[in-house]
Amino acid sequence: MSGTITKVSGPLVVAEGLADANVSDVVRVGSQRLIGEILNMTGDSASIQVYEETSGLGPGAVVETTGMPMSVELGPGMLDNIYDGIQRPLPEMRALTGDCITRGTDVAPLNREKKWDFVPVAKPGDQVIPGDVLGTVQETSAILHKIMVPYGVEGEVLSVASGEHVVTDVIATVKDKKGKIHELPMFQRWPVRIARPYTRKYVPSRPMNSGQRIIDTLFPIAKGGTAAVPGPFGSGKTVVQHQLAKWSDVDIVIYIGCGERGNEMTDVLMEFPELKDPRNGEPLMKRTVLIANTSDMPVAAREASIYTGITIAEYFRDMGYDVAVLADSTSRWAEALREMSGRLEEMPGEEGYPAYLASRLAQFYERAGVVECLGADDRQGSVTAIGAVSPPGGDISEPVSQATMRIVKVFWALDSSLAYARHFPAINWLTSYSLYLDTLAPWYTKEFGEGYMKNRTKAMHILQEESELQEIVRLVGQDALSPADRLTMETAKSIREDFLQQNAFVDEDAYSSYLKQYKLMDLVLRFDSLCRDALQKGANMEKLFTIPARERVGRAKMADVKVFEKDYAEIEAQMKREIEEVIAGGEDA
């Protein structure tokens, strides 16, 4: 089925003679066979968004439809790889076309020559349903890839292969009820715009450990939850995303660089193979899939990149893994939507964005969740979706931020004034929120006792009070405050500087375990309660605030993982001793 081009306007191409094509079909455009997708049909003419630069295309050129919707290939070989927005492997493209991305390059997403050691799980004679595991492949040292029965195939296993195979080899045959024999290769295809099916969805109840203190302790996210990180430029969105990609206790990370800087993707590419997963010591890259549509790559593929990423995530979820999808940035994706919408001459909604912006965003985030996967073994998997938002001028009243806030449950608001003061991560503790607190609180209590959540409440209370006191200080000065209020200010400062600030570039500080976070918060709050007591006993306030132990509290976050508990106990003892001394000295000693 082929048609001819009648109009070219940037990435939008209109072609006629395509009456038999379907909406959302992938088409090949022009002699260079550029990849495109049908957006709209009128009569026999189709509006096509082309995922590559259309320079040099003109009326009369041929358009061929493949008859298939935009799909990804799912199988071994995705991990430890970097793809463009439509799942073309970038290292292989580089080998083919050099340092720059040229048009019409056709590369299979999964390497066709690489052999994988397939270990069968199913046996001939087994009855299988979609999602059942046929066998496994050790894809990387960190991840066991489960080859599953694809959706729509059910019946009796006739044969299962074993040993070394390439992804296209038939590794099992299944006879269905009608007697039809399905030959199953090691990979499957799935249309990116359709969510992969599952048996049942659950409400998230386990936290995702990110190792970031402000996130884990103040605004936790659940596995299977959704979060947004909005912030103006320079506030550290990307660093937050990178930290999550590095330290989150999930099995698989899908990192989507959507319309962002090329060097940031390079950074991930270079750094992740060097970094070790704190849980199993494997290089982080072994559990990571990168999707890169940098800001200089064609804008139409940007729209697809988000879907490509989440579909791959769902596939790993179906194996029973916990997956995190990090999209940086959803604003660029929305802008790509806006650009195509403008070219299609659709009636614009707010700020030129199409009227369907909010529903598209909701569809994306709704693909996150904890599910019981297809298959007979009741395994559970989760997809956690975290999207960065880049609001123009940092003003979150704009449509993308607002539409996102209506959907996500966790909001880590980045603040430029914190960033200017080099308070990183620059997550504002007053405007951020997590709606998972109630569902996750039982978990924290079970693991660490009542203390964890109590500390959290107390810390939040102190920070809140500080912001009110600051108003007063700005008007009438610090001297007007009572000693108790002065102490609140001091503690808040300590919470901010000694607990919330976390340096992503210092090894000892980049990752904090729950226990370390708990103990550190305890230490900071311990100072507060000891001093409050001391003030009542008439101790000198200035002296309390300048006891030498405080300097050690300030450095406590740098304590080594192995010895921090002992360290903290020592600091606490010193603090107690020094405060006792101040009390003994009385009001003016």
Binding site: T6, K7, V8, S9, G10, V14, S55, G56, L57, G58, P59, G60, I82, L90, P91, M93, R94, D99, C100, I101, P232, F233, G234, G257, G259, R261, G262, N263, M265, T266, D267, L269, M270, A292, T294, S295, D296, P298, V299, R332, E335, R338, E339, G342, E351, G352, S390, G393, D395, S416, A419, Y420, R422, V473, R474, G477, Q478, E497, F505, R555
Partner: protein
Amino acid sequence: MIKEYKTIREIASPLMIVEHVEGVTYDELGEIELPSGQKRRCKVLEVEGDRAVVQLFESAQGINLAESKVRFLGHPQQLAVSEDMLGRVFNGMGEPIDGGPAILADAHKDINGLPMNPAARAYPAEFIQTGVSTIDGLNTLVRGQKLPIFSGSGLPHAALAAQIARQAKVLGDNETFAVVFAAIGITFEESEYFINDFRRTGAIDRTVVFSNLANDPAVERIATPRVALTAAEYLAFEKGMQVLVIMTDITNYAEALREVSAAKKEVPGRRGYPGYLYTDLATLYERAGRRQGKKGSITMIPILTMPEDDKTHPIPDLTGYITEGQIILSRELHRKGIVPPVDVLPSLSRLKDKGIGVGKTREDHAGTMNQLFAAYSRGKDAKELMTILGEAALSEDDKLFAKFADEFERRYVSQGNTTNRSIIETLDLGWELLKILPRRELKRIKPEMIEKYLPKED
């Protein structure tokens, strides 16, 4: 066989509609021949059936519908590149205007370039010493970075950019260095300032100038940065040179883009700028960088004037989202006579962490940098409080911080346009200033560093 069309249907500068065309493709370069024999250039923005919408690169003056002829050349706009471009001056479209001979082309390059494969990039990590403390010490520039200067009308951004171009060097190497200077809609005087500075220092022989001045056609400005970057890519990745690209002023570029977009009757985004301004700017800025296995690099310093000094205006805002940091100039500091008036707190270099530390600058760099930032921020807060409530309202510590902020501006920031400080001098000066503060407040620096570098009381 190239056809000539005399079927211009409509001219509404900068757009023109040509009918009954055949085989015309998107983005193709066209040539218009006026009855007088004069030639102008244009490119195809849209083709529908036999009707092409083209954009003129020059003024529409003198084109008439009946007599003018249009030819389509079958390729997008190209630039003839060669090493002989060094030391020459071109107009915004890449034609020589210094009276010298035409360039004997080594190759013809599409000025739009191609997106760089992220898997082929090499991460910028080599420290560039600019000799300016606020950049070297606090917002370190590395090779292959794009670091814009956000300025305002009347601020001395040209002096700072020229200072960087003059002093920038990579420690301990002697590779070939080149400057590509793109003047985008700036005045003759500003352009001369740069060229004279290059001439004075002898850098002119290693410089390629592309000049689209304020009185040159505005639409030509859309091509100027692309032409300049094409030359830069050639010198960097084919000739192995370390290229510094200075583009000034991006605001003029964006305005030209808005003009064309408005003429096309596109749905406008913020402040009338087209919705694709981000993508468009990204295709310029992302051309900076390094590639694996290639010796050369493109380091880019775009300059833009923020309308009303407003950082949230779409041009600086979108630029900030693409570039790897920004150097912001402050009117307040400029009034105080601080030269260069770099506003340290909102300035940022995203790539600094990979370019500093042991083997690159010095082990104490990261810690002192964070400490200086934090201390200056607190000092400024303290000073603000002081203006409202008087000095007596400050705690002893805050008084020290306020003093620190003053000294920091006076000694660290204000170094003048001729002082070239080595990184060691910059770092030592930082320590000198930190001495003002109580030692227990130096939480961002490792104790052993404090022990080693903090100047002892004498």
